[in-house]
Symmetry: D2
Subunit: 117 residues, 4 copies
C-alpha cells in the first residue's frame, strides 16, 4: 500500500472513531482546508522571499510551518477520500494538461505565462 493510501485510511479511521463523518461534507472539508492554508500563509506573510526560503532552518518557525503543511495535507487527503478522488492521479493529469498549455519553449523563464504550475 502506498503512503498516501495509508494516510487516507488513518484519517478515515480517525474520523470514524470520533463519529465525525457527519461533519465531513465536502463543503466543510473544503472550508477546513482553506482555514489551514490560511494558517500556513500567516506563518510566511511578513517574511521576505529570502527569509521564507530559509524558514525551515529557523528553530521556532520551521516546526510551525511543518505542522501547518501537515494539517493542510490531512484535510486534503480527507476531502479527496470523501469525494472519491485519487489525489496523485488527479495531480498528474493536471500536470500533463499544463505541460501542453505551457510548453518549455513558450514558457521558459516567463512568469506571465505561469497561470498554473
Amino acid at each position: 500500500m502506498s503512503s498516501v493510501e495509508e494516510l487516507t485510511e488513518r484519517v478515515r479511521a480517525f474520523a470514524r472513531e470520533r463519529d465525525w463523518e457527519q461533519f465531513h461534507t465536502p463543503k466543510n472539508l473544503a472550508m477546513a482546508l482553506a482555514g489551514e492554508v490560511g494558517e500556513l500563509l500567516a506563518e510566511l506573510q511578513w517574511l521576505t522571499p529570502e527569509q521564507s526560503a530559509a524558514v525551515m532552518a529557523d528553530p521556532e518557525l520551521g516546526p510551525r510551518v511543518r505542522a501547518e503543511i501537515g494539517d493542510v495535507t490531512v484535510y486534503l487527503v480527507r476531502l479527496a477520500d470523501v469525494l472519491g478522488i485519487d489525489l496523485v492521479t488527479a495531480a498528474l493529469d493536471k500536470l500533463s494538461e499544463a505541460g501542453t498549455r505551457y510548453t518549455v519553449e513558450a514558457a521558459r523563464g516567463r512568469a506571465d505565462k505561469i497561470k498554473d504550475a
Copy 2:
C-alpha cells in the same frame, strides 16, 4: 518509489524545464496554493451540503472539482518539496497529536471539539 515521491519529481522537473524555480519561493507557492484552494471553494460555495456530497456525480461539476483537487495537490507537493518537508510524515505526525488532544471518549460526535481533524 512511492506515488507521492514520483509526483514530487515530476513537478520538480516540470518547474526546472521551464526555468520556473526562480518564481517558486515558499511565499509564492503558498499564495498559489491558496489561490487554487479558492478555486476549489468557488465550485462548492453555492451548493447545499447534500448537493456537495453528490458533486462528483455531476457531469459538469465533477471534472471541475477533480481538476481543482489536482491543482491544489500539485502546489502542495511542490511547496513541501521546496521546503524539504515529507508531506505524509508531517500529516501522520499531526494526526497523532490530534489523537492525543481529541480522544475518542471526549470528542465523539462533538463539533465544538473539532479544532483540527
Copy 3:
C-alpha cells in the same frame, strides 16, 4: 469624511507609528488578508447552514466571528490603501458589471448562474 476613509487613516497611522510599512507590500497584505479569511472560515466550518445563520446569537462564537470580520476588514482596507484603490467604488463597479451579466430575468433563483455576487 466617510467612515471607510476614517478607518483607512487609522490603519495607515497604526502601521506608520510602528514602522511597519516596510512589511506592507501588496503581496504580504494579500497573504495576511487570506490568513484572516481562513480564521473566519475556521469559525464556521463545522456548523450546518442553519447554525451558521444563527451564529451571532451564540455568546462564544458571535464575538469571535465579529473579531475575524474586523481583522479581515482591517487588512482589506490597508491593502486597498497601499494599492491606491477606492474600495467602495471598486465594489460598486463590480456590482454594475455583475448586474449586466446576471440579469434579474436570467439569474432569478438560479445558483448555477451565480459565479459572482
Copy 4:
C-alpha cells in the same frame, strides 16, 4: 448615509432582486469571500515584492487587481450584512485591541511581533 451603508443596500437589493438570498448563508458567503481572495492572490503570486508594489501601474494587471478587490469587498459587505455586523466598527475595535497588544515601543519595526495588523 455613509458609502459603506449605500454599498450594503445595493448588494442587498442585488441579491433580493435575483432571489439569491437562499444561497447567502454565512457559510456560503464566507466560502465566496475566500474564493475571491484566492483570485486576488493569484494575480500577485509570481510577482516580486517590488513588482507587486507597482502593479497598479501595469495596464493589464492593474484593472484585474482592482476588479478582485471589488469582488472581495462585495462579498465582505454582504457577509457582514447577513451577520448583522457593522464592518467599520468591528475593524476599529480590532485596531484598538491590537494597539494595546502591539504598543509602539515594543512593536516598532519588528515583524515577529506582527501577528495581527
